[in-house]
Amino acid sequence: MANIAVDSVKDRTFDAIVIGSGASGGWAAKEFTEKGLKTLVLERGRDVVHVKDYPTTNLYPYELEHRGEMTFQDRQLNPIANRCYAYREDSAHFFVKDEEHPYIQDKEFDWLRGYQVGGKSLLWARQTQRWSAYDFEGPARDGFAVDWPIRYNDIAPWYSYVERFVGISGNRDGVATLPDGEFLPAYPLNAAEDHFRKAVDNHYKGRHVISARCAHLSQPQPIHIQQGRVQCQNRTLCQRGCPFGGYFSSNSSTLPWAQKTGNLTLRPFSVVHSILYDKDTGKATGVKIVDTNSKEELEFYAKVIFVNASTLNTNLILLNSTSERFPNGLGNDNGLLGKYVAFHNYTARISAEYDGLLQYKTDGRNPAGGGYIPNFRNVDRQETDFLRGWAAAFGASRQEMRDTNGVGTGLKEGLLTPTLSNWRVHSHMMAETIPKESNQVWLDSDKKDAWGVPMLHISVAYDDSDWQRRQDYYDRMTEMYETAGFTNIQTMDDNRRPGNDIHEMGGVRMGHDPKTSLVNKWHQLHLCKNVYVTDGACMTSTATQNPTLTYMAFTARAVDHAVNELKKGDL
């Protein structure tokens, strides 16, 4: 019996454990396995094998039972998921259903989740921008949160490293607030977007309209072909999973790459309950999981543990990792674990029309979505009443207008002989929010989920500065639209709840000082050095960029550090 027990422990012992298989977990898996470490990736949901498990990927609209629409019953049962733009009949199977995974909203918060191998990397909007020096310096300069313990130069080589493998399309725009990267050819702006770019360039110093940078293979390189991925085919049906691997997901890229090394063990259906801590060594020894099929509790062991469970679940796991030494959660002596959660404010849009350049239209589809306006507010100096700024998406299109007024042959003719509209331009805001201690998550003391894990309380809200930033977006964009000759300018408050941006960040923030932060400049818990946090939970501030690229770069850098520490015997 003793031997069996020993063997069983041996079978459950790895060099590294990665919790989560989304964008950042997939990168941890790739990096560890490539460096020769036996790596266990734990995923709470089911397996999703690239291509094979994309059941809707090749369906025509008429092959979807409700032509893409969600049923009334589904909308009643899953109001949170249904508020997400990407939750549709062709992608709903990749989203968590509200009832299956409840949480407690002390303030209204849409927590959108993808519990499967690949996580939300199957569903993301694929916009990828580097942070700039200004973003990392922000908290220190403006006196909020804590100083980031890293600067742009620390992460720049890792951005390059990740970009080359992922495949990012973009132009080298030379904009200091949005550093250039290792780019595949950009998806060019269309006629009206390009017109706006020129108008803004001519009229404003420091404001730019660029081609949106995105994780699509506009021109695959050998490294992408080796992954089994080919050129993006402009389907823009990405949330179904892409049979071409045209966009980056863990499923199409990092996980199969890790698999090929022979060093990966991928374990789906594994909900992590907590991280195990040994007070004698001062290190984590492994993790306790619940197998969601057998309901069995199991322990797995490793020298180093990466927590990439997605921002709020990473918070949850650490809060639930209690021990005699850490009664309030792993590494949480300062009581700040779960606090200073922030997000992006997406609550504003502006539309307009443009009557010029009617000799052009678009043909095919643009996977990048159009243009991007990097933040230009409060960059070199504080110039507004509110801190920080906002970025914006920008796009233009001409619609095929179909006359639906008639009846009979008249209606039929109206439907089949469209006329082309003028250019319809649109934009939405992506504003920085300021992390606050009161925006926080914590565990319920009684209520547990189906796997015996305490339920998460979420109390996250906007503040007045969020509405100041929004007004500034309206004012500046309106003025820029007018400069470009756009008409019928309409601003639209979009009263979405925090979380609907799907950019929740923080709770396990980075910092120099163990008294005011949870992880150090290498993403190690200050107080438990063999546990690393490299997903959105480690974010000290939010900047305005879509964050996934940064999590991936953080992860590659942190794995490199962990492996070096292991070699030195320091972990």
């Binding site: 039972e65 009334f72 019953q73």
Partner: protein, 171 residues
């Protein structure tokens, strides 16, 4: 729904409409399974005439051939609130009596021109239930038509794999 079950449903629907009229009209129920709506065979026949009037067969297929009435029923049954569903069921009856009154005979018996002219008057009928019903049916009929395999492969081609993008395409 995967392709196989989609095909199966389509065959079932097509088979149902072919076979049922020849049966003994025992069930008096709609030819597709509905979870919420209570629709008789006569209701379904009226809706069929209605969608055919909205989108008639010309040198290209019309509503009847494309089974748009079944699409309308399916969408209202699955994607609408109970209030909308009640308005639909009530509206069908309202439409039946309104058209009888306006035409002096049943909708199905009237000529195509008469029926077309009548539908043109529906939005201004002054009956809020009728207006709501008509708007609902028309919207779903148009959606079913534009998203039908027939239209998407023959008339307004849908490209699953464009493989290109040009932002300066000459009009």
């Amino acid at each position: 729904m995967n392709r196989r079950s989609a095909v199966r449903t389509l065959l079932y629907i097509a088979g149902g409409t072919l076979v049922l009229p020849a049966c003994f009209h025992e069930s008096r129920k709609a030819t597709i399974a509905l979870a919420n709506l209570s629709v008789t065979e006569a209701d379904e026949a009226l809706l069929e005439e209605l969608v055919e009037t909205l989108v008639p067969a010309t040198d290209t297929a019309g509503g009847k051939e494309l089974l748009l009435h079944l699409f309308v029923l399916k969408m209202i049954d699955d994607c609408h609130s109970p209030e909308d569903q009640q308005a639909f069921t009530k509206g069908l009856a309202t439409f039946s009596s309104w058209s009888q009154k306006e035409l002096g005979r049943s909708f199905a018996e009237a000529g195509i021109d008469e029926r077309t002219a009548l539908l043109g008057k529906a939005p201004d009928s002054g009956d809020s239930n009728l207006v709501q019903f008509y708007g609902l049916v028309k919207r779903r009929t148009i959606q079913g038509y534009m998203n039908s395999q027939y239209v998407m492969t023959n008339l307004v081609k849908y490209e699953l794999v464009p493989g290109r993008y040009n932002g300066y395409f000459p009009v």
